[in-house]
């Protein structure tokens, strides 16, 4: 089951440049929450702070508090590896491991953490690929073909399956459909719909229709600040901030 994400006074920097200012947000469990805003507004940085990917960038730094379920993400005893095991991530560009078969791609999270029980792995791989709606397309070439041999849309679903296989509680998606064609995009959106029954989903998107379609909650970022966070319906029909209204009506961005 998914857990909620609680963010408090989150500030993030790249070197001397501040990317996030005092962001506070309560992401509800088992719902999809969209993060929208113009390019460079900090929305990717925001989700990368939730699973401690932000700190992998050189000179990147951060202050504030993030709690996922009962886990203090930046607590003293919490390791980044532990956080990332519980918070899955799907990236903007599909990034399957090119040297691994489809099967090994999905099993990678478990195998690389020292889990080798074949029967369980087989089960997890099949279940994850089913959930990612990819099983029927790849079941005959699981171990024969490389993950990189699939089409772009298939690769992205493979990456979703790979993230699901480690059974995270929260799933972060950083513009997961922005590099895909409309049909693959709608497949991914359908998937998000099903996944939120079991997971908490935070999805960054450039596409406001997409946010309206898949997410119950939406946060609007502008220049590193969270301007408004509310029910998606409210954001798109009756935003309380003028800047949100300007953005969603296409006056800038």
């Amino acid at each position: 089951m998914g857990v909620g994400v609680h963010v408090e006074k989150l500030n993030a920097w790249f070197g001397a440049t501040q990317a996030l200012y005092d962001v506070a947000m309560d992401v509800p469990a088992n719902h999809a929450t969209a993060v929208i805003g113009p390019s460079g507004c900090g929305k990717s940085t925001f989700v990368r702070c939730l699973n401690r990917m932000h700190e992998t960038v050189r000179d990147a730094r951060l202050e504030g508090r993030v709690r996922i379920g009962s886990m203090e993400v930046y607590g003293n005893g919490t390791s980044a590896v532990e956080v990332r095991r519980r918070v899955g991530m799907v990236f903007q560009k599909p990034n399957p491991f090119p040297s691994m078969s489809i099967y090994d791609n999905v099993a990678a999270g478990l195998k690389l953490n020292g889990f080798h029980n074949r029967r369980v792995l087989d089960e997890v791989v099949e279940r994850s690929l089913h959930m990612a709606a990819l099983w029927d397309e790849v079941k005959d070439s699981l171990k024969k073909k490389s993950g990189a041999s699939l089409s772009g849309g298939q690769q992205q679903r493979l990456c979703i399956a790979r993230a699901l296989a480690v059974q995270p509680e929260v799933m972060l998606m950083d513009e997961p459909a922005s590099a895909l064609d409309p049909i693959s995009t709608s497949k991914i959106e359908e998937l998000i719909f099903q996944l939120k029954e079991q997971y908490t989903i935070v999805i960054v998107t450039h596409n406001m229709q997409q946010a309206a379609r898949v997410a119950e909650y939406t946060g609007f970022f502008l220049m590193g600040k969270l301007i408004e966070f509310d029910k998606t319906e409210k954001i798109f029909t009756n935003p309380s901030d003028k800047r949100t209204e300007d953005y969603i009506t296409g006056r800038f961005g």
């Binding site: 699973n51 990917m53 992998t56 050189r58 590896v81 532990e82 956080v83 990332r84 095991r85 519980r86 899955g88 991530m89 990236f91 560009k93 990034n95 399957p96 491991f97 090119p98 040297s99 691994m100 078969s101 990678a108 999270g109 690389l112 953490n113 024969k144 073909k145 490389s146 990189a148 041999s149 990456c159 790979r162 993230a163 480690v166």
Partner: protein, 302 residues
């Protein structure tokens, strides 16, 4: 349609059919010339290699027989004999060199690519480049001072140390280069799964770059396999069988050297045959590693 690119646009100057034909002919001619030039260069690269190899076959193949591979060298005047002990000795020395050079070189390459920042990394890169240019005889002297003088006797071990040191810079720099070619997104995918940094580096980044790393190792191996100078006062050579890495040991390049500088025609023939065998063994080893490595590759992996 690629044709759209070369058909004139609406605002391009009008051309008569004959002008157009001339233009087409010029384009085709340029294309042929460029292709021909590239082909010529390719031939020029392969030609010396083929010339060396065919000359070796011509001069050496006559002295090749089963005994050459199974017998010990014989004294001057006696017929027959072989270089079996030198083949075994070379394998032993190259094995020791690889045990030293491959993990060391790959490890340093990983450090430079994944963690190497700041002045220490710059120093390391500079040192590797300088080491790459140090004459092999100097490396031999280093191994002599480090191993031979300490142990007070020549050995396969000291030869392996000399050749192993020579492998390190080539492998280090090439490993760094190919690891840096692996996109950051692939590393991020592994980190995002909760895979620890060292695990991600070994099982994802290094594995993704494995074809390039193998090429680097084979290049370094081929380069040292024919080295003679560093072995002169380390492995030293041996007229008899030796399987003890801590004793003076025969090596093919040394044996070829001994035969080649001798005044005897029979020994000259043996030197040619030895050179042929050395080249064939190197080509065979490189091809075998490539074959085994390519089996592990996935269909469609890029």
């Amino acid at each position: 349609m690629p044709n759209d690119l070369i058909t004139p646009k609406a605002d391009a100057p009008e051309r008569s059919p004959s002008q157009q034909r001339l233009l087409d002919f010029r384009r085709k001619l340029t294309d042929r010339l460029a292709t021909g030039f590239a082909a010529l260069m390719a031939v020029l690269v392969i030609a010396p290699l083929l010339a060396v190899f065919s000359y070796l076959v011509l001069r050496g193949v006559g002295s090749l027989n089963l005994a050459f591979f199974t017998h010990l060298p014989v004294p001057v005047g006696e017929q027959g004999g072989g270089v079996a002990n030198a083949i075994v000795g070379s394998a032993m020395i190259l094995g020791i060199a690889s045990l030293i050079g491959v993990p060391w070189g790959i490890g340093a390459g990983i450090y430079l690519a994944e963690y190497g920042r700041g002045s220490f990394a710059t120093l390391l890169r500079f040192t590797a480049d300088v080491l790459n240019g140090v004459p092999s005889i100097v490396i031999g002297i280093v191994a002599y001072a480090l191993v031979v003088l300490t142990q007070k006797h020549f050995s396969a071990l000291s030869g392996g140390v000399a050749l192993g040191i020579m492998m390190i810079p080539t492998i280090t720099r090439a490993t760094e280069e190919v690891l840096l070619l692996v996109p950051l997104t692939v590393r991020e995918a592994a980190w995002g799964l909760g895979v620890s940094r060292w695990r991600a580096t070994l099982s994802v980044t290094l594995r993704t770059a494995s074809a390039g790393v193998i090429t680097a190792v084979m290049l370094a191996f081929a380069r040292i396999a024919g080295e003679t100078a560093p072995l002169l006062f380390t492995a030293f050579g041996n007229q008899f069988w030796n399987f003890n890495p801590n004793q003076p040991t025969a090596a093919l390049p040394l044996q070829i050297f001994t035969y080649a500088i001798s005044p005897f025609d029979e020994w000259h023939r043996l030197a040619w045959a030895g050179a042929l065998v050395l080249i064939a063994l190197i080509v065979g080893a490189v091809a075998a590693v490539r074959l085994v490595a390519s089996r592990g590759m996935m269909q469609g992996a890029s």
